[in-house]
Amino acid sequence: MNMDEMKTLAMKAIKTTIGEGADTAEVTVSGQDRFSVTVRNERTDNLTESVSSRISITLSAGKKKASITTSDLSPENIRKMIVEAVELSSVMDRDEYFDLPDQEETGVADEIKGLFDPETVGIPADEKISIALALERAACGLDTRIISDGASFSSGMYSLVFANSSGFCEGYEQTGFSTDISCAVEDTARKGKNTARKQSSFWFSTSCDRAGLDPIENTASIAVNRTLRKLGAVKPKTCSVPVIFDQVTARKFLGCIASAVNGGNIYKRASFLADMIGKEISSPLVTIIDDPLMPGRLGSRPFDAEGVRSRKNTVVENGVLTSYLLSSYQARKLSMKTTGSSGGISNFYMVPGSHTLDEIISSIDEGLFITALSGPGANWSSGDFSQGAQGIWISGGKLTHPVTEFTVAGTFSEMLSKISMVEDSLDWKSTVASPAFKIDRMTISGS
């Protein structure tokens, strides 16, 4: 389907929905054309291609709301499902806060450059496979101990049209590329009867355009380095020390903050940041922004999931919580204004600080450089944080030996207030990005 066909389908669905008795209708038509290949040990392990599309409709009748979504775009099915949605809405309760966004809020931001790479279409499958093969070869060539767990290349084209019954009907297209490599290595350092231990890690690159992907040599060497530096990891002693979150784990931490400022979690009181607007929630070194207008970023968009014009939002400014991220519904619930954030974050990041990573590491006498976090123990509702972790011990301002099988625990509020150094660079890998940062003290549970 091209953009015009998608718009026609959306408008037709609006008409049918209103015709069936709904007061309001919002329709999203999305399409994707994806390719991905994984190679392992110099052979194609998996090659997947797909073209798919979907229509989603939200309607309301008497402020009672229901939604449908389907991949079956036949007119008979869409009509049948609209009728079912009208019936479903009749058993819902009236929600006084439900409405379409104000018309002065809806619209399209000025063109955001660098989101669509027209060359996507033309790359032959063989060339994509050879990129994955080259990435794997580069990684395995760096160290003979490396076991490849697969190298991948993927590309996709995504298109989206949104329309509502107040006359909004707009669309945009985006492309995306990624490469990744996973590797493992035998870890014989730990003695004992019950071990065939290995260590594993991976690295990846993403971009809206092919030219924006990192050189494969860089991706390969980071993946190999992240794997090899775990060899011989030991369990650290239980203690309380300064810790550094590297960019990978800082991104994960920041992703939790994104959930905590999400309007849905705020009005449901499922966030430790409920009722905190205007208050100091963090060290003054922390500024957090959500910016959908950034050129060439995966989370960029000219309007949000309900057609509200995109704008840059400063969420935390020098430690003070300045804004939640709100859809029009969430804004009404909280007597605030929409921030154009229906559908969630766009490009959510912490503004870089003024120290190099080396400076941050050398500021610590005994402490921990955290490189991986795992498990579901980050609870932004209660504000409690307790995660399994891996990392490298710091002694005398230097990275020394790898550590594993421990947890770091605290609360989000404490952690934010104890951020004392922020790295001066930012590496965009997904829709969330954070510089590394140092937290003055955290509890480490090990042996």
Binding site: R197, R269, T407
Partner: protein
Amino acid sequence: MPDYIDHFGISDEDIEKVVSTALSRGCDFSDLFFEHSIENIITMEEGIVKEGLKAVSLGVGIRCVKGEGTGYAYTEELSLEKMRKAALTAAAIADSGSAPAPASYREIEHSNYYPLDRLTTDEPLGRKTGWIEQAEKAARDSDPSIVKVSVTLADSLRTVRLITSDGRSLRDVRPMTRISVSAIGERNGNRQVGISSGGGRIGPGYFAEKTPAEHGSEAARQALLLLEAIDAPAGQMEIILAPAESGILLHESVGHPLEADFIRKKTSAYTGRVGDKVASELVTVIDDGTIMHDRGSLNFDDEGVLTEPTVLIENGILKGFMQDRISASFFATSPTGNGRRESYRYPPMPRMTVTYLANGETDPGEIFSSTKKGIYCKSFKGGQVDISNGDFVFVPIEAYLVENGKITVPVKNLTLTGNGPEVLSRVTHVGNDFAFSDGRWTCGKGQSVPVGVGLPTIKISGITVGGSELG
């Protein structure tokens, strides 16, 4: 099985054409996975039934396998032209010769582990909202400290037809019901969340066994309990796991590393260790997709292999792995009915169905009385494992301090970390009170699939407890 309705309308003649195309470049085997799914989700929050969603998906995934390689494509338009195009894309994994497609397809008989006379999907909408309201009221009425309650009822019905290039056809209708209640308690700035959920491949009869109100009260009880909980201690200590839900520990720490793709790729900590003692002799671990009405059960897996009980560890000795067709062929063994996929959009891979630790002989009372200081874990938020070495974390929701054989005080904000093989060798007691978990778990391994777990009370002599209080 609920009535099989043919949503696909594909003639045998067209199937033959598509399979021929899939085999045209000489792959080892191919399969077509037709799927129609209906999912209904109704959510109540802030005292109103707020959102209703119905999702319908229809498509076919076409897979061609050559050695360890998979070519895959899917289409959501079931025209002969689109299906042949997808088949040609998938076929490109192989590059020599061709094989003829079978002209006819034999229907494979199979058992039914989820017989139902009524489906939740067919229940009147007013009945569904009634259940949801009962659950919400029970939670809200529990205590004035309960400030927010949300309830979600989700049901689905997946109709599957699988065609394999060796001439087999299998049909299944897979129902699912799940209710989930979350209650937020707030007191003096302290905010805690309680959760209760359950269900399975079961119909409205589920609510006769466990009422929506029981789920509501349970979520509220948990939130209130956590408001009273103290911060967990940090360090190494004895852990007692309560029956049923604690099976998630097993799923994460041992289940994943025993999935045969990790073995075949030599990235699992259990690679090459069949016949080794990998756990305490008290430990027997089984994966079994034939448990009646369980959330993780399947009549046959997503590549047409009938499910069966698979013994993974027997009295501490590693016996075997969970195999899909590719891995089974690699190891020259039989597939075990563990080839699963999220939907027609994905190729199958080895996944767990219902994974459990078999019953033991010890009275649970004895397990407590032998514990001087430890943590008793009753329910869990979830966990994660590093396949390459078995290092895991998991996060309890409801947990207590055990002192001198007695449960003393609830604790919060803790993560347990350990190494799967090491922890399993430190199982010192296995209780005689085995139970399966209520159906609430979904496993993510790039694709989401529903799974089941089960366990009796067990004690592990040492796991690292990650709390924030240095003792």
